[in-house]
C-alpha cells in the first residue's frame, strides 16, 4: 500500500510485531525446556523448606500474567513433584506460618512469620548501575537513547537490568553488615540464619527464630529502623550531637556494643585514614574537639555503617520469599543457599549456574563483557549469531539481550 510508506518509524509494521511475538514465544518455550531439565533431573535441586505444611506456596508460570497462589504442600517431596510438573518461571514460599495455608488471605489464620531481609544492588546507589543502563531494540540491537522507541523501526526498546561484579560486591558489603548486626546486636545464633543469593543481583537473609516469629508489623518496623539508622539520635546514645555538649560525656570506647560502638569505630577509622588528631586513639576523649567536628564525622560514620535493606520486605508479615535453589526467571540462575562461612567468597556467576545441556546458537543483540560458569564472554555489538553454553544463552535471553537463532 502506498500510504503505509509515509508512516514514520514510530510504530513497527504489523508483520514485524507478529514476528517478534512469535520469536518471544519460541524463546520462552526453549527456556522452559531448559528449566524442565533442572526440575525433572535425576538429581533434583536440594530444595529445603522448614515446616512446609504450615506455609503458603506460589509460582509464576511461563507465559502467564498471573501468579498462582495459596498452594499448600504436606512435604517437600510433594512440592518437588509439583515443581517438576509445572516448571515455573519463579517459585516462592511464604515467610508466614498459617493454620490453613490454602485458604484465602483473610481466613488463613496467621501464626507468625520468619524475619526476612532483602538486599538488592539496585537500591544501593552504586555508580556502576548508570554505566550499565542499556536499552536494546529486539531487531536492531543496542539503542543510542535511553527512552522511547527504536529510531530505525519504531519497536519498543527493552530495558536491560544488567548486573556486574561491582553490583554483587556492593550487595555483599551490605550483607556482611547485616549479618554482623543480626549476630552481635540481636544475638541470633548462626544456626537460625539462612543466607541465599536472589538469583539476580542481591541476597536474601531469613531468620528462623521462635522468639522473633511473632513480631508484628510495628515491631518489624523498629528492626528496619535499627538497621537503616532511620530516626537515630546519637545524643541519646551518649555521643556528641546537636544540643549536647562534649563536657560530661562518656569517654568513647571502641569496644562499646551496638550503634554507639559501631559509630565510634567508624569515627576512629576516619581519623586514622585522614591522619587528623594523632594520638586520639591512645586517649580518646570527646572534649578533644568541637562538637561540630564530631557531628560531621558521626554523620559520615552513620552513612557508612547503616545497612541498606529493602524496608518493605522486612516489615511485611505476609511476604513471599523465593524458594532456595529454585530458578530465577529473570536470569536462569539458581537462588543458591550460601553457607555462612562462604559469604565472603561466594561467586554467584559460578556457583548459582546450574542449567545444563548442549551449547545453543543464539542471536545476540548486544552484550557487555561477562563471566558465567567459569567462562568469559567478550563484549558483543550485535546483532550477531554465536554458539554459547546453555546457561549463558538463557542468561542473555532472559535479560532480553539475545533471541533464539532460527538456524
Amino acid at each position: 500500500m502506498e500510504g503505509s510508506r509515509s508512516i514514520p518509524a514510530s510504530s513497527p509494521s504489523l508483520s514485524v510485531r507478529q514476528a517478534l511475538q512469535a520469536e518471544q514465544e519460541r524463546r520462552l518455550r526453549f527456556v522452559r525446556s531448559v528449566f524442565a531439565r533442572y526440575y525433572r533431573s535425576d538429581q533434583p535441586p536440594p530444595i529445603e523448606v522448614t515446616e512446609p505444611e504450615r506455609r503458603e506456596f506460589a509460582y509464576w508460570e511461563f507465559g502467564k500474567q498471573v501468579m498462582t497462589r495459596h498452594l499448600s504442600f504436606q512435604s517437600v517431596g510433594e512440592l518437588m513433584k509439583k515443581l517438576a510438573e509445572v516448571v515455573p518461571l519463579h517459585a516462592y514460599r511464604s515467610s508466614a506460618y498459617f493454620r490453613y495455608p490454602a485458604a484465602p488471605m483473610e481466613e488463613k489464620g496467621w501464626e507468625g512469620a520468619d524475619l526476612v531481609f532483602d538486599i538488592d544492588a539496585d537500591h544501593l546507589d552504586l555508580t556502576c548501575v548508570q554505566e550499565h543502563q542499556y536499552r536494546v531494540c529486539p531487531v536492531h540491537g543496542l539503542a543510542e537513547v535511553l527512552e522511547g522507541k527504536c529510531a530505525e523501526c519504531g519497536s519498543d526498546l527493552i530495558e536491560v537490568e544488567w548486573v556486574c561484579e561491582r553490583c554483587i560486591e556492593g550487595a555483599r558489603a551490605e550483607l556482611v553488615k547485616l549479618l554482623n548486626v543480626l549476630m552481635d546486636d540481636f544475638g541470633i545464633p548462626e544456626s537460625e540464619i539462612e543466607v541465599g543469593f536472589s538469583g539476580n543481583r542481591g541476597f536474601h537473609v531469613v531468620v528462623y527464630s521462635d522468639a522473633l516469629r511473632q513480631l508484628d508489623q510495628m515491631a518489624r518496623r523498629e528492626i528496619v529502623m535499627y538497621l537503616t539508622c532511620e530516626g537515630i539520635d546519637p545524643s541519646i546514645l551518649g555521643l556528641p550531637w546537636k544540643g549536647r555538649k562534649t563536657k560530661g560525656l562518656r569517654r568513647p570506647s571502641l569496644e562499646d556494643p551496638g550503634w554507639r560502638g559501631r559509630i565510634v569505630r567508624a569515627v576512629a577509622r576516619h581519623l586514622v585514614r585522614s591522619g587528623e588528631m594523632a594520638g586520639w586513639l591512645e586517649d580518646p576523649d570527646w572534649s578533644a574537639a568541637k562538637p561540630s567536628y564530631w557531628r560531621e564525622l558521626i554523620s559520615k560514620a552513620i552513612a557508612e555503617e547503616k545497612v541498606r535493606i529493602d524496608p518493605v520486605v522486612t516489615q511485611d508479615v505476609h511476604r513471599l520469599v523465593r524458594l532456595p535453589w529454585s530458578l530465577n526467571g529473570k536470569t536462569g540462575l539458581a537462588a543458591a543457599r550460601i553457607p555462612l562461612d562462604r559469604v565472603e567468597d561466594f561467586d554467584p556467576f559460578e556457583e548459582a549456574v546450574v542449567l545444563k545441556g548442549p551449547p545453543v546458537k543464539v542471536r545476540v543483540l548486544f552484550s557487555p563483557k561477562f563471566k558465567l560458569g567459569g567462562e568469559e564472554f567478550d563484549a558483543l555489538e550485535g546483532p550477531v549469531e554465536v554458539r554459547m553454553p546453555v546457561a549463558a544463552a538463557v542468561y542473555l535471553m532472559l535479560k532480553g539481550l539475545a533471541t533464539l537463532s532460527r538456524g
Binding site: 544475638g187 511473632q214 541519646i236 570506647s253 513471599l320 523465593r322
Partner: protein, 484 residues
C-alpha cells in the same frame, strides 16, 4: 544532674509538652524540678511524669501540692519547723497516751514491761556485746508479700488467691468504693488513681473495679481504667525499697541483671529484644526507638527508671486486654455491684454526650485499607498513624467534632489536646497549613501501607485518591506482587 543536663532535660520535656499540646511554663517547670532535686538528693527526676501530672490551670504552689499528692513518696516541701514548746507538748501527750494504755494491763504484763524498760534504760551496752551484729550471715532479705504489698501491686498471683477466699455476695458492700475507683480512673486517666489507706479495701476495690469495667463491656472504659491503675503502680514502684522493687519487676517482666562490664555502669537491667518490642508498642518518644538503645546479644539495656516505665506499659497491656477475661455481665453481679455498674454506664453516657460530638457518619467503604486499619486500632494507634488518619478525615471533609468522636475511643483521650491537634492539622491553628495525609510511598516506609498496596488501584499516589467505585472498576485486573 548538673546544670547542663538539667537544661537539656527540661527542654526535652517542653518538647513533649508541645507535642501533647499542653501549655507548660518553662520557668515554673524548671524550678519545680530544681526543688525536687534539692529535697530528694540522689533521686532521679526522670522517674516523675512531669508533663503528665502538670496542670496548666494551677498556680505554682498548687502545682507543688498536686505533685505531692501524686508522688507522696518524695519530699516536695520544707518540713514544718517545730518549736521546742510544741515538741514538749507532743511528748507529754504521748506519755499520757501510754499511761492510759498501761492502766489496762494485768500484773504479769506489767512486770514484763518493767523488764523491758530496765533493759532499754540501763543494759543496752551489755546486750550489744552479747549479740554482735551478724552482718556476714545476713542475706538480702526476701521481701514478704504482705497485704499492703498486694494492694500496691496487684500483679502477683496471690491477688487471685486473696480474692478467691471471698464470695461475690461478701464483697458487695465494697461496690460503692469500687465504683468511686472506676470513676476516679475515668476522670484522672494518666494521672493515676490516688492512694487508698486500708489495704483490704484497696485490693478489693482494685479487683472489683476491674470486674465492673469488664462487665460493662466497654473496651474504652477498661483501657482508661487500666491506664490509671498502671500509672498508680508505676508511681509507687519508683520510690519502693530496693528488694521489693526488684521482686515486683522480676515477677512481671523477664529482666536480667547486666553482667557486661561495658554496660553495667550505665544500665541495671536488660530485657530480650522481642519482649522489648512488645512493651514499647504504645510509646512514641525517640528515646524508646530500638535504634537509640544499647542493643547487644539479643538484649536491650535499660536503666532502672526505664524498666519501671516499661513495667507500667506491661501492666497496662495486661489489664486492658480483653483476651482471656472471664465472661461477666452486669446481670450476673450481686445487687450493689449491679447498681454500681449501671451508675458507671450512666456516667459514661453523660461524659460522652458532654463532648457533644456529632454522630459520626463513617463512610468506611470509601476508605483505603490503610485508613480502615488505623480506624480499627485507633485506641492503640501511634502518633504518626493518628496524624495520617486525622489528615485523611479532614481532607475528606469530616468535621472536627466527628473526628473527635472517633478519637475519644482512645484511653488517653484528652479533649483539649485532641481538639488542638485536629485543628492544627486542619490549618486552623499555628502555621495555618492544612495537612494532607502522607503519600502512599511514605505510608509504605512508615509501615502503614496494607499488603504493599495490593488492595488499591495501582495508580493512586495518596490514600486520599482511593474511592470505592474506582477500586471496583479496577477489579478485573489481577493483584500483582513484585517478587522480592
Amino acid at each position: 544532674m548538673d546544670e547542663d543536663v538539667l537544661e537539656t532535660y527540661v527542654r526535652s520535656l517542653m518538647k513533649s509538652a508541645e507535642y501533647l499540646g499542653k501549655a507548660v511554663n518553662y520557668i515554673e517547670l524548671k524550678s519545680l524540678i530544681r526543688r525536687f532535686m534539692e529535697f530528694n538528693p540522689g533521686a532521679d527526676p526522670r522517674v516523675i511524669d512531669w508533663v503528665g501530672v502538670w496542670d496548666p490551670t494551677l498556680t505554682y504552689s498548687e502545682q507543688v501540692a498536686s505533685f505531692q499528692q501524686n508522688y507522696p513518696g518524695f519530699r516536695w516541701r520544707e518540713a514544718e519547723e517545730i518549736t521546742e514548746e510544741a515538741f514538749e507538748q507532743m511528748k507529754r501527750r504521748k506519755v499520757e497516751e501510754v499511761f492510759e494504755a498501761v492502766k489496762e494491763l494485768d500484773e504479769e504484763s506489767l512486770r514484763e514491761l518493767l523488764e523491758l524498760i530496765k533493759r532499754e534504760l540501763g543494759e543496752v551496752e551489755v546486750i550489744q556485746e552479747i549479740t554482735p551484729a551478724p552482718t556476714i550471715l545476713q542475706e538480702t532479705p526476701i521481701p514478704t508479700i504482705t497485704l499492703e504489698v498486694l494492694a500496691k501491686y496487684p500483679v502477683f498471683p496471690e491477688t487471685r488467691e486473696f480474692f478467691e477466699t471471698f464470695e461475690m455476695e461478701e464483697v458487695d458492700d465494697y461496690a460503692e468504693a469500687a465504683k468511686k475507683r472506676v470513676l476516679e480512673a475515668l476522670q484522672r486517666g494518666e494521672k493515676g488513681v490516688l492512694p487508698r489507706e486500708d489495704p483490704i479495701e484497696d485490693l478489693l476495690t482494685f479487683i472489683l473495679a476491674r470486674v465492673l469495667c469488664i462487665a460493662t463491656k466497654e473496651p474504652w472504659l477498661l483501657k482508661r481504667w487500666a491506664l490509671a491503675e498502671a500509672a498508680r503502680m508505676e508511681r509507687y514502684l519508683h520510690v519502693e525499697a530496693k528488694e521489693l522493687k526488684e521482686l515486683v519487676l522480676k515477677t512481671v517482666l523477664n529482666i536480667e541483671a547486666v553482667d557486661d562490664r561495658r554496660l553495667s555502669d550505665e544500665f541495671s537491667y536488660k530485657v530480650h529484644l522481642a519482649e522489648y518490642l512488645r512493651l514499647i508498642r504504645e510509646l512514641s518518644g525517640p528515646e524508646w526507638r530500638l535504634v537509640n538503645r544499647m542493643v547487644h546479644r539479643g538484649y536491650v539495656h535499660l536503666t532502672e527508671a526505664e524498666v519501671v516505665r516499661l513495667f507500667r506499659q506491661l501492666v497496662y497491656q495486661r489489664f486492658s486486654s480483653t483476651e482471656n477475661v472471664p465472661k461477666v455481665s452486669i446481670k450476673q453481679l450481686p445487687p450493689k455491684l449491679q447498681e454500681a455498674a449501671e451508675d458507671i454506664m450512666r456516667e459514661l453516657v453523660n461524659l460522652r454526650s458532654s463532648y457533644a460530638y456529632e454522630t459520626v457518619v463513617e463512610h468506611a467503604e470509601d476508605w483505603p485499607p490503610c485508613m480502615e486499619a488505623i480506624r480499627a486500632r485507633v485506641a492503640e494507634a501511634s502518633h504518626k498513624e493518628l496524624f495520617s488518619f486525622a489528615a485523611f478525615l479532614i481532607n475528606r471533609r469530616y468535621s472536627t467534632e466527628q473526628i473527635l468522636a472517633i478519637l475519644s475511643e482512645r484511653p488517653d483521650f484528652n479533649e483539649k489536646i485532641a481538639r488542638y491537634q485536629v485543628e492544627h492539622i486542619a490549618g486552623l491553628r499555628g502555621s495555618r497549613t492544612k495537612y494532607r495525609p502522607p503519600s502512599c510511598q511514605t505510608m509504605k516506609s512508615l509501615g502503614l501501607c496494607v499488603e504493599d498496596g495490593r488492595l488499591c488501584p495501582k495508580w493512586i499516589k495518596n490514600p486520599l485518591e482511593y474511592r470505592k467505585e474506582l477500586k471496583e472498576r479496577q477489579k478485573p485486573k489481577q493483584p500483582t506482587q513484585t517478587p522480592p
